[in-house]
Symmetry: C2
Subunit: 188 residues, 2 copies
């Protein structure tokens, strides 16, 4: 039996990603987001939604670029910190000891210690309401060697990404392998 719980911003799963930007002074900033997702195959694109009030918002507008750094479980505390304070008040890289690495392709920094990084140039800006949706074209992905499988592709079980649980506001790891996509549906 289903019950109405009202109009909420709630869905499972949502990602836990860190958006990297340079501010107007060229200082690196980073911000955790969960309102985000892949959104196009050709060109490869990802969307992240930010409030205008965030410091990162102005960084994206200024540079027409951002990165998405995907943390592993090992950095869940630093990742949470990136969502707790504003880059207006604190240099979050200095505070965490994590390394801002300048992208050679777009005007944005990424988190050196995170296993998987998407470098994006701003393609579209869509003002929805409290949040503005930015579509970034993924111009390259950088991956740690240790996060790659035998074919040289990023392996989700080696990256060990973080899931954000809306509602309870908890982080989760990924769990067991449930089967191959475009395959197990044939077995019904």
């Amino acid at each position: 039996m289903k019950r109405s719980i009202g109009a909420k911003t709630l869905a499972f799963p949502t990602p836990t990603w860190v958006v990297g930007t340079y501010d107007i002074n060229g200082d690196p900033n980073a911000m955790t987001v969960a309102w985000a997702g892949l959104c196009c195959s050709v060109p490869p694109c990802i969307s992240v939604s930010l409030r205008k009030a965030t410091y990162s918002y102005s960084g994206i507008i200024e540079n027409k670029a951002f990165t998405v750094s995907i943390p592993s479980e090992d950095h869940v505390k630093e990742t949470d910190y990136f969502g707790l304070v504003s880059g207006r008040d604190e240099n979050k890289f200095k505070a965490t000891g994590l390394t801002p690495v300048r992208s050679e392709l777009v005007a944005a920094p990424f988190v050196g210690e995170f296993p998987l990084v998407l470098e994006c140039k701003l393609l579209h800006t869509l003002e929805i309401g409290l949040h503005i949706l930015f579509v970034g074209e993924i111009v390259d992905i950088k991956a740690e060697e240790s996060a790659l499988d035998e074919n040289g592709d990023p392996d989700i079980e080696k990256v060990r990404p973080i899931i954000y649980g809306t509602g309870s506001r908890s982080y989760y790891g990924i769990g067991r392998d449930l089967g191959k996509a475009f395959s197990i549906g044939k077995e019904r």
Copy 2:
């Protein structure tokens, strides 16, 4: 050490959601998506990206509405099937035995057996490239009683959503609780 792996549509984690639509004849259709995410808090919105070639695309355009049904691990095979075939060729609800339930709020059906359902009216359409991004305003969420916590909120551990692993194209469950958001970052 990081290695460039090129411009790909790849990120971890991505969701596994089923978009429900009515076709031009009023028949229910459903399609699995992973290029999707929450995208605004006020109004509460979710985005799903579809190719124009899909049957569901025309269903959204026709009705200016869609639902997002969130499957649990129990229905991973049916969920994969929803992404394997086109509603042009087959009635996927009949084929799976799952129940299309008419939303009372928007012109779209949801999957009766899935624990969590978002009813959405189309707010924005953004043509990116191969994929078109649809922003839907979440007008209500319906949840199974069995998926709610003691406060009446959806519990991710009871919903047991499915994560899609891009690259390897595998499904995963959620794993262990890594801590509270907006909290564990203070402990660094």
